[in-house]
Subunit: 338 residues, 2 copies
């Protein structure tokens, strides 16, 4: 089968790879209907995470089950499925508390930018749709697999409540879908922090009521101006840098909530500042599986259209172009068709 391999920073190739097989009785193999490039894939692409040796890449996926192991009970060949970017058993205490990315059996999904994908712990990782979805829903279902689920978790972690003021740091796909999640969760004021016209437009479409173009301390000052001098009730952090984390903490009112989902890179938080800020801080790898049934349902009834974050679609063979387009910010997010 054809699949994407990262060889080194900047070196993405689509190659012939062995077809994935059922390795454990809890595995499934799925044929991908669509996959995509994640903001977090850009870290190794940019050389900010090391690439020790060439390896298959990609962790966002929707598709049709081809094969299941002997112990798989909840999905069967022929079903259309959406899955999380982390495999989880969905039965341990941590999963039952809603933290499938902390599952005691958790496993990474690797190599989803391909024709076929092995998904471990299929029962606890995949969610089947009722029937085969309309092709126009596929991009939105694909978004649910990671970026929507992550933006949603960020909004939940930031305790977005009806009537709340929300600020969103980061205008990538996750930040934009954090805006959408905040709107769905009833936020009254949603402040998107963005400097890019295309992303501002999508943020507005997803529910942003205000756009702040300033960053750092100026950005914080603008958010405070817009929230009666106090800062936002809830702030979503969707970048993962020192600057974005500080911007998020400082734009939050005392007693408010920061939900952070940008994968942290060289972030160090000062204890005294955190202490004085009185904010709640919660985040990490989003337990997408926890939200998938609800998100799939919202998508299929047309309540939300997160697939709008895909502003470029390419055949899988052109994965290298997809990375380049996202790296250079020519595209927000690229869908790949196997």
């Amino acid at each position: 089968m054809r699949g994407t391999v990262i060889h080194a920073p900047g070196d993405i190739r689509v190659e012939d790879l062995p077809e994935p097989q059922i390795e454990q009785p809890t595995d499934a193999v799925i044929r991908l209907a669509a996959t995509c490039v994640c903001g977090s894939d850009l870290w190794p692409y940019r050389g900010l995470n090391p690439v020790k040796e060439p390896h298959p890449i990609g962790h966002e996926y929707v598709g049709t089950v081809e094969q299941v192991g002997a112990e798989v009970r909840t999905v069967r060949p022929g079903q259309f499925v959406v899955g999380s970017f982390f495999a989880s058993d969905n039965t341990c205490q941590i999963c039952r508390a809603g933290y499938q990315t902390g599952c005691v059996q958790r496993d990474y999904i690797v190599g989803a930018q391909a024709e076929l994908l092995r998904v471990p712990l299929a029962d606890g990782t995949l969610v089947a749709t009722p029937g085969r979805p309309d092709p126009e829903r596929v991009p939105s279902l694909l978004a649910a697999s990671d970026v929507l689920g992550t933006g949603w978790f960020a909004a939940v972690a930031a305790q977005v409540r009806p009537g709340a003021s929300v600020a969103v740091v980061g205008d990538g796909a996750v930040g934009l879908l954090g805006v959408l999640a905040a709107r769905e969760l009833g936020a009254e004021r949603i402040i998107a922090m963005s400097r890019h016209a295309d992303r501002q437009r999508l943020a507005r479409e997803f529910g942003a009521t205000d756009i702040v173009t300033e960053r750092g301390e100026e950005g914080v000052a603008r958010v405070k101006e817009l929230t009666g001098g106090l800062g936002a009730h809830s702030v979503i952090e969707a970048v993962g840098t020192q600057q974005s984390m500080l911007q998020a903490v400082r734009a939050t009112r005392r007693g408010g909530h920061v939900g952070f989902v940008g994968v942290s890179h060289d972030v160090s938080l000062d204890g005294s500042e955190l202490f004085a800020s009185l904010v709640h801080l919660h985040g990490g790898p989003a337990p997408v599986r926890s939200y998938l049934p609800d998100l799939v349902e919202r998508i299929l009834r047309g309540a939300i259209e997160p697939g709008k974050v895909f502003d470029l679609t390419l055949p899988l063979e052109r994965a290298a172009e997809a990375y380049d387009a996202m790296d250079s910010r020519r595209a927000i997010k690229v869908l790949l068709q196997p």
Copy 2:
């Protein structure tokens, strides 16, 4: 009047000071029935916080209202009152959300180790008891003014729930009262981390079900052993050092909650570790005022006896000895009688 002044690290003196006056129409002046030394007073005493110039010290207090300003409505001369260590208006949006230590008008209480104390924003800071309390309740009411309220906030911030497992890092008065708060909030298993026999005894009396004497990684491993390998649902951090914060984060299960109330000193949290841990982190200066009505009621009906943390009582004149006894760990907490 007589009052305590810190002149330099290790140099505590009780001196003649001018009597505090009503300065703002929202002030009250109270005659102290009891005051005490706080763990946080030891930071300047030990030279770990600078003492730029001599200043009155102390922020924990109960007593009788002597005088009120023209705008004070909820307390009147002759009433016995308990107050928070931060003054707050208790009417702003931040206060109404339960974060009086983040009040837009907040002010420090300074100079409570004295005969008389000026309390700003009296209506929003003080709580009057119904009638004059039995003298044997006074130490417990004094504890409510800071250490009980702080331990309580830590337990609330750590989301202690009925049936939860709770670990408490720190065996000072706040940690011990965190144990008591966890018990009151319904925790099933309460693991106190302590190496001192007297504090272990009090922890057991307050509700600890297990004592862990190990620290650092060994302490974390012991907490995990006691919690099915997962870590505690809720961890209270009541020290404020790098080691204690890491111990708290690492002893918490994924998706669990850390409530931190130890005043942070040179603490730096690594973003990647926090991200991967999936814990909730919340803390800061405890909004004691938020809990005072409930805590006073629990004390007066005899449900809790937090005053047991005072294992030494001295006349105010001997404040220097009180500091020395706490600094050398001969006493957990010293009550001073003006």
